[in-house]
């Protein structure tokens, strides 16, 4: 009878270990390794000075200051950018300032793309070589950065904005910012 207690424990030990491992591995499996947290959050937008796609002139990081802005990294060759395009247009219609960062794209292709699908951007800066996007920690389009009035990066969305979960998360951060 005295032996009963530890032997019960012993009997259930494999089950306990199994359940613990399953929970641990389950969490691991549901994390998305494609979404690497950006170290740039809470830091000022990186310095840049790029030509505009649709007009003469340039766009710099200083132009981001003064208004809450989304910087949307896109390219005409990027399929997921097409997927999120309606969402980007919807945001733009609702008064969100969106700046396009055209990533490693042919300017003519990019212009055609906007002409066909509609242009939600207040300005499109051209990063032809992709060098500036390295400073932003971009590793694939589409990516979207939320910049506050002071020019600080507050949030980053990796992948299409049309994903409801990502969209809601972005909105909640955006609504918490000073307009």
């Amino acid at each position: 009878m005295e032996n009963n207690q530890p032997s019960m424990m012993k009997r259930f030990m494999p089950l306990i270990v199994f359940v613990a491992l399953t929970v641990l591995l389950g969490i691991g499996l549901t994390l998305n390794p494609r979404e690497v947290p950006s170290p740039l959050i809470g830091k000022p937008a990186p310095e840049f000075d790029l030509p505009l796609l649709l007009s003469e002139g340039r766009f710099t990081n200083k132009d981001l200051i003064g208004q809450v802005t989304l910087v949307n990294v896109w390219a005409s060759w990027c399929f997921a950018c097409r997927q999120e395009h309606e969402t980007v247009k919807y945001l733009s219609r609702n008064g969100v300032r969106i700046i396009g960062l055209n990533y490693k794209d042919e300017p003519d292709d990019a212009k055609n793309w906007l002409a066909t699908l509609g242009n939600p951007y207040q300005a499109v800066a051209v990063d032809y070589s992709g060098r500036i996007s390295i400073d932003w920690g971009v590793y694939g389009a589409p990516e979207t950065f939320l910049i506050d009035k002071q020019g600080i990066i507050r949030h980053k969305v990796i992948g299409p904005l049309s994903d409801k979960e990502k969209y809601d998360e972005l909105m909640s951060v955006m609504n918490s910012l000073e307009k």
């Binding site: 170290p39 740039l40 390295i134 400073d135 920690g137 590793y139 694939g140």
Partner: protein, 157 residues
């Protein structure tokens, strides 16, 4: 035995050759062999974020190409290895490093295996002791053996 060994060697040789074929080819000219060495070391140690199971050296992804060029340009400008690593970490986070930094956040990562091994050893030792104990219980004392002998003797008579 010889057969298995030769097959194993063949497999190793073949997998090595695959590795060489898959590596992207680019030609960078370095001022010094030291810089070239650092270049190869860094591009082996940095993760390509597009295809995450490849290093920047192995990957054919566009971004990996750009990052190789960036490493090369920085080296030619005289940047040190540490400066280049922190350049990458500032932009992409610790995740670009195949070898994570040693800091409180990553202690579990570094010590975890040792801790698990330690607990495993405790378990094994305790288990073996318990086994020994149960064997002792099963084995008979001298008195018992005497009694059995006596019983046998009694039956014989």
């Amino acid at each position: 035995m010889y057969n298995i060994l030769s097959k194993l060697i063949l497999l190793i040789v073949l997998s090595c050759s695959f590795h060489v074929v898959a590596a992207p080819v680019e030609i960078f000219q370095f001022d010094s062999p030291e810089k070239e060495k650092i270049f190869h070391k860094l591009s082996e140690e940095l993760r390509c974020l597009v295809c995450q199971n490849q290093s920047v050296a192995e990957s054919n992804a566009d971004l990996a190409k750009d990052l190789r060029l960036e490493i090369y340009t920085m080296l030619q400008k005289g940047k040190t290895e540490d400066e280049i690593v922190s350049f990458m970490v500032d932009r992409y986070g610790d995740y670009v490093l195949y070898r994570p930094p040693f800091e409180p956040m990553t202690w579990l990562l570094w010590f975890g295996p040792v801790v698990i091994f330690f607990f495993g050893m405790i378990f094994v030792v305790r288990y073996m002791k318990a086994q020994n104990l149960s064997k002792q219980v099963e084995s008979l004392s001298k008195e018992d053996i005497e009694r059995i002998k006596n019983l046998h003797a009694g039956q014989d008579k």
